[in-house]
């Protein structure tokens, strides 16, 4: 990394952090290859809702996980005793572990931990149990409810399964959770607390009560006849998001540790910042005052300039004011400084997986750097501004990427930025 020099690390005693494994279960693909291919092909994972019937006309689309063979990761009993969100994360972590070729047997597991981002906990399991409680009374309650329901259940199950005794944390920051989990894991390795972290996010929010409530709040896409077009961030006609489920887990590793075992390095993490707009619980400040600050702070942390950024992996929440906020922040910082960067968002293809979204973005950032390709932003037929549209790519595009800026934002004023870069020694 030429900008944040080795000297910096020697002076501060901080460790460098790289990404060495990816695991993903998303509506548009299970496993990093399928996930990446659908992103490059612009093939959306949004389809007609099939999991349950839903009487409201408005939102019959969702990003469901289909074709996930839970039995290849879990015993039947374990499937009965866990929530979908637990299983997605554990399966994604096992994929990431395999991808990293890390041999846990030879590792000091007190130095390996996990940070899981999650927004709502095991709501499907909890909702089912609530019906049992109402209809049959407390004695029929499942002893597995707490594990399946509480947000920290996933991290616990994962660490037990892999025997990890390092930091085991769960961060619940809504849509920024996945990015925050990666950022916190980066800090933990940076300060030398752990050597390896499984970091990412998981979510399984597809229950009808949530869809109904989100619909009433007016944040769901109204396009139901053409699911492929339903999720359309940064459009003049952006009308809401599509609720999705999934998980993404990344293996973050201390650089020397990765080099010693000759690991395949996807990229390096160069910085992480998060802050709060303190503007409103639901609305956002469309000027993006705090998002701009988060971006500037992450540049300062990595000691780079806006000119160095090649690709911006945006959140694209598909709620108009949030999209405008993200776009305004980017325009303000990059205008007249950098003309060549590209912008995309994965949300048209993945939908909105809440607490997992930042992790899916992270996997996309890593794949983009490794493969030197920027995935397209689909469904953006009517971009808000000309300035913005100059940087869009409608087809996947070859690009020698050094720095990727990844932005996430959420209700309750939360903004998070992650900066990743190509590892060049």
């Amino acid at each position: 990394m030429e900008n944040k020099t080795k000297q910096f690390y020697q002076q501060t005693n901080k460790k460098r952090v790289v990404i060495t494994g990816l695991g993903v279960i998303a509506p548009n693909g299970i496993g990093k290859e399928a996930f990446w291919k659908s992103l490059l092909d612009g093939q959306s994972g949004i389809k007609k809702l099939t999991r349950f019937s839903y009487e409201t006309e408005n939102n019959q689309v969702a990003g469901e996980i289909q074709g996930f063979d839970a039995l290849s990761y879990f015993k039947t009993k374990e499937i009965r005793h866990t929530d979908r969100s637990n299983r997605y994360a554990i399966a994604a972590a096992l994929m990431a572990l395999e991808d990293s070729r890390l041999d846990l047997e030879g590792e000091n597991r007190q130095e390996i931990g996990s940070i899981i981002g999650n927004a709502v906990g095991g709501v499907e399991f909890a909702n089912k149990e609530l019906n049992v409680l109402r209809d049959f009374g407390p004695k029929r309650g499942s002893p597995f409810l707490s594990v399946a329901f509480f947000p920290c259940g996933t991290g616990g199950l994962l660490s037990i399964r892999l025997g990890l005794k390092g930091e085991t944390l769960t961060v619940c920051n809504g849509n920024t959770s996945g990015t925050d989990a990666m950022g916190m894991a980066y800090r933990i390795i940076q300060e030398g607390k752990n050597e390896v972290m499984f970091a990412g996010g998981t979510e399984a929010p597809l229950i009808s009560a949530f869809l109904c409530s989100f619909d009433k709040l007016g944040v769901l896409s109204k396009i139901t006849d053409n699911p492929q077009k339903a999720s359309r961030p940064f459009n003049q006609d952006t009308g809401g998001f599509v609720l999705s489920e999934g998980a993404g887990i990344l293996v973050l590793e201390e650089l020397e540790h990765a080099l010693r075992r000759k690991a395949n390095i996807y990229c390096e993490i160069a910085g992480y910042q998060n802050n709060n707009s303190a503007y409103d619980s639901f609305h956002t400040d469309t000027n993006g005052t705090e998002m701009k600050r988060a971006i500037n702070d992450v540049f300062k942390e990595a000691n780079i300039e806006p000119e160095n950024v090649d690709y911006i992996n945006t959140h694209g929440l598909c709620i108009k004011e949030y999209d405008i906020m993200e776009m305004n922040s980017i325009e303000y910082i990059f205008k007249e400084r950098n003309d060549s960067f590209l912008i995309s968002a994965i949300s048209p293809i993945t939908g909105n997986t809440l607490g997992a979204q930042g992790a899916l973005q992270g996997i996309t950032s890593a794949m983009a750097i490794k493969n030197k390709i920027v995935p397209p932003l689909i469904n953006c037929e009517l971009p808000y501004s000309k300035e913005f549209s100059k940087h869009l790519t409608k087809k996947s595009c070859k690009k020698d990427i050094n720095f990727v800026l990844q932005t996430s934002c959420c209700f309750m004023g939360k903004n998070s930025c992650l900066l990743l870069n190509d590892y060049r020694g």
């Binding site: 709502v120 619940c172 920051n173 409530s213 959420c410």
Partner: protein
């Protein structure tokens, strides 16, 4: 070399079953007042356990705009109110501060179940018309720190940490690291929980983790006593003001104590049972002490997890002995859960506040309901009545759900 900054505590805010605010909280603790009662928040007649540590005199309208209250879950209300109390106590003039440098780290175990549970029930029994558009905003744990940041216009980091029973310890520990590493100057840190709803309550009943001593609630929470049979679920919140030392000195703030170490580990043993050797729990405590360069003999008080489950009393004792060896017998150890019950996401914050008040008041609160010595628990648990003591260093130990262990070392402030 890169210099680590010192972090002190300059404000305390607490809402607990024994009272609102640190004064009532402390009076309750030193007088050994039991707060465990029969559940009144819902009809618990058919439940395995029917007792809880409830908060009865909390009026959210004192702290939050009336029209917002119905959309903010009880757990988040506690957190906002505790934050307000802590800020008042710290005498911080927020309008003069750089709010970009003030963050919020809140621990929460469950989520906004007080609004969500009835909502899910309405939805199932009455159909979609009954559901509120604000279900997500009042349910998702993220709102917990979000509402505090919003209320005080704090633009720094805003994080919700959910690690079960260690949530608040982790939130304070991570907040301490964040100031130490020069990422923020002030952090409102702590935890909150309001789990007294039928489903959440029953999730602990089904685990058989709660006490079954339903006829005598006042005797039900008895950590380290031979007859202990489970914990008492409680509600409440604790928020403290973590502040960079120089910043605190410049504004001549009252300093309650200095956070000098945070240690955490994971047993990877079982989701709902404790690991028998106490190795990882001991590691968390050791890490906290080592980070603060504290010798065993300096520790004058240990604020224990002491949940009152049969296994906790035994294992925590084993772990404490692993850390301190023979000196373990000389440390006064007490469990405030004997009086308050156990509010999972807030427990660590209440223990931290207790420890800071111990150093201020030179008194150690007791472990009440301690009547029958248990050969497995043979340390000094400060039985039944408070004890005067000059304490310079305290250690907070928490452990819980899934096998997470976290500890904090706190020192009286000297320059």
């Amino acid at each position: 070399m890169y210099k680590k900054r010192r972090v002190v505590v300059t404000g305390l805010g607490v809402i607990a079953p024994n009272g609102v605010g640190k004064d009532f909280f402390w009076q309750g603790l030193v007088s050994g007042k039991n707060c465990v009662v029969r559940v009144t928040r819902f009809n618990a007649d058919n439940f395995y356990s029917q007792m809880a540590g409830e908060i009865h005199n909390f009026n959210p309208a004192v702290y939050i705009d009336k029209e917002k209250i119905p959309f903010i879950d009880r757990a988040f209300q506690f957190a906002i109110a505790s934050a307000k109390l802590a800020i008042n106590d710290s005498k911080l003039k927020l309008e003069e501060e750089n709010k970009e440098k003030i963050g919020t780290f809140v621990g929460l175990g469950v989520g906004g179940v007080n609004i969500a549970e009835p909502q899910f029930n309405f939805y199932a029994t009455k159909g979609p018309e009954s559901i509120s558009p604000y279900l997500y905003l009042s349910w998702f744990p993220s709102a917990c720190s979000g509402y505090i940041s919003l209320e005080f216009k704090l633009k720094g980091q805003s994080n919700v940490i959910s690690t079960g029973c260690t949530s608040a310890t982790d939130a304070i520990g991570l907040g301490y690291c964040t100031i130490r590493d020069n990422l923020q100057d002030i952090i409102l840190a702590g935890g909150t929980e309001a789990p007294l709803t039928p489903e959440t309550f029953n999730s602990f009943c089904s685990l058989r983790a709660l006490s079954h001593r339903n006829d005598t609630p006042e005797k039900a929470s008895r950590p380290f006593d031979k007859e202990r049979d489970g914990f008492i679920l409680a509600e409440g919140a604790g928020i403290i003001i973590l502040e960079e030392l120089k910043h605190a000195l410049e504004r001549k703030a009252k300093i309650y104590g200095e956070i000098v170490g945070y240690g955490a580990s994971f047993t990877a043993y079982h989701m709902t049972s404790l690991e028998p050797t106490g190795e990882e729990s001991a590691r968390a405590m050791k890490e906290a002490l080592e980070a603060g360069q504290i010798e065993n003999e300096q520790v004058g008080y240990l604020c224990a997890h002491g949940s009152s489950t049969p296994i906790n009393g035994k294992m925590e004792t084993v772990a404490i002995k692993r850390v301190f060896g023979k000196y373990a017998y000389k440390i006064p150890i007490s469990s405030i859960k004997s009086m308050l019950g156990h509010p999972p996401g807030a427990a660590g914050a209440m223990q931290t506040i207790t420890s800071l008040l111990v150093m201020e008041k030179n008194f150690i609160p007791p472990t009440i309901n301690y009547q029958n010595p248990d050969p497995d628990c043979d340390l000094d648990y400060v039985p039944n009545s408070a004890r005067p003591a000059q304490v310079e260093v305290t250690l907070i130990n928490t452990s819980g759900f899934a096998g997470r262990c976290a500890a904090l070392a706190i020192k009286r402030y000297f320059n």
